[in-house]
Amino acid sequence: MIRIGVFICHCGHNIASAVDVEKVVEFAKTLPGVVHAGHNLYSCSQEGLSSIKKSIEENELNRVVVAACTPRTHEPLFRRACEQAGINKYLFEFVNIREHCSWIHSKEPEAATEKAKKLVAMGVAKAALLEPQEEGESKVIPRAVVIGAGISGLAATASLLGQGIETHLIEKSDRMGGLLKDVAIIGPEGTDSKSLIEAFMSDIRTSPKAHVHLNSRIKELKGFIGNFEVTIGNEAEDLKVEAGAIIVATGACELRPEGEYGLCEHPQVITQLELEKMLSKSELTAKNFVIINCAGSRQPGREYCSRICCNASLKNSLRILDLDPDASVTILHRDVMSCGTAAEALYMNASDKGVRFVRYSLEQPPQVRAEGDGLFVEVFDETLDEKIDLDADMVVLATPLVSPDDSVETSKLLKVPRDKYGFFLEAHVKLRPVEFATDGVFVCGSARWPVSARECIWQGQAAAAKASIPISEGKVRIEAITAEVNPDKCVACGNCVLACPYDAIEITDRDGIRAAEVNEAQCKGCGTCVAACHNDAIQQKGFSSRQLGAMIDALVRATTEGTQ
């Protein structure tokens, strides 16, 4: 007998603020096969999971439906809970009432509740027809590919090599080191960036398992976790590399808001990175410095805080004063974000040494104008509540890190998502950090959000640690969503053989009966053959025509009979 348990998640306010969870629970109780329906504040919490497991035992459930967020992030978690409670994990069905309902209908609570009921009805209908499945295994190629040789990519590569994993490092420019090539001293601790990069690079240079491809790009990516085929191309040739995991460390670049604040109009208006270059040569060509923080960030269209610029401004103002104690430095800021004890000390130190801090507002940004040979910066000081005019012979713009233009192309090639600012989106900030939703592809450093060099190293090493899991295990489990043929229905027409993109199906003779046969190891579970079959003789596990048909029936029923 089918005994279905339905668990509706509040997800704190995320779902419950739009969807009336209790009404959905009452509705779920009326659905065929449902013997238990309940709700959790957070189904994915330890408490939520154990209450689901307890309910499986108490109610002798043999099918579980959770209506919560997206299966793309949380399905493995709930499947594991089912397994722990003694139910085959393929008897679990996920209903998405957060991304696909409460979040996108947050202003229409009634309609959102009705829709959640329909989605739950569809999920329950499918769950009733689910069958237990066995998983296959596939080998993992013991090799990794890291894209981008900035500090994150270098840290990831060195970490992989340290574990004895053969690694291909791909860099689009002619040198390793990324943005740090132009920065001599980093962080509030005053770390020497050259020796930091050099330590990673010497690990890479001396390892026989490292392959560095400079002036190269990814041209094509095929395959899936454990079995990727990466085409690496430079001007001269293309090289195909097979790999088990891929790490994206493509980084970010400095925004150059040409025309704003007089950038490109006056040679004395420069960006922070240009100041870094000047400082690394220990040559100062000015006396009066005005640094404008948040130049191009925390404003409409680019609302985010770039996180590294405040500390960079503080550090650089102290370096200016070290080189020339008579110089004057003014930092125009909107908030000084110097988090952490070391950075806070840097701020105090800068104040003590005479760096002036002037706070401006978004509505009245500083204006840069040239008069004679010099520059003037006019700014409305929020603290003084009046306009001041600063004499400057060099204006430094602390502009944010932005996603490089070619991240669009990277996103398309690797089929990984970006957020609205162009940074890469990991699968889940808390549950699956540095992982993409696509298994076997990882992300680290400023490619996913502006971070300091220190955080880049941490993330690079985290991504390497995660990438090394399937590689060191040597195998990955293949989801049981492959196709299977019912030889009694099959007429051996061969349509599925032609439809399969992986040549996984052939017509075989089994005791005199000619029928299609699926090679499970080659089948990737797309279901293309299923739609090609005229006889309904081939089915995809977990997505059979009966299961999908039942979902359609349930949607029709929930609509015509009402969900009250």
Partner: protein, 139 residues
Amino acid sequence: MNEFNPNILAFCCNWCSYAGADLAGVNRLQMPPNVNVVRVMCSASVKPEYIFKAVSQGIDGVLVLGCHIGDCHYLTGNHRTAKRIPLAARLLGKVGIDPRRVRLDWVSAAEGEKFQQVVTEFVEDVKKLGPNPMKEVRF
């Protein structure tokens, strides 16, 4: 009379369009609540029969969303979708159902806004077409 509120079924492929729909959610992009998503692994696994079944039972519109051509997770799956779904829509036209009740489009994992746009447009289009005439049919 109440405003016509169409009941729409959508098939989204796991790798691109379902992820695109998730992204729309993450970014809180608001859209009409008429579209109910069924997750499939590839848009090429959507049988025309599902569309016929849904439409014959009174579903007002069917949306099939896949990866962009050239981006299919399963190499060339969506090339078949591109042929199959318009054919299914044409067949519906032959039996007197407006083929505009079926829409095929491509939404990548990074295109939350495109998902919102397609859903909003399709709901508007189906509203203009009015209720599915099959609702009045008694078998």
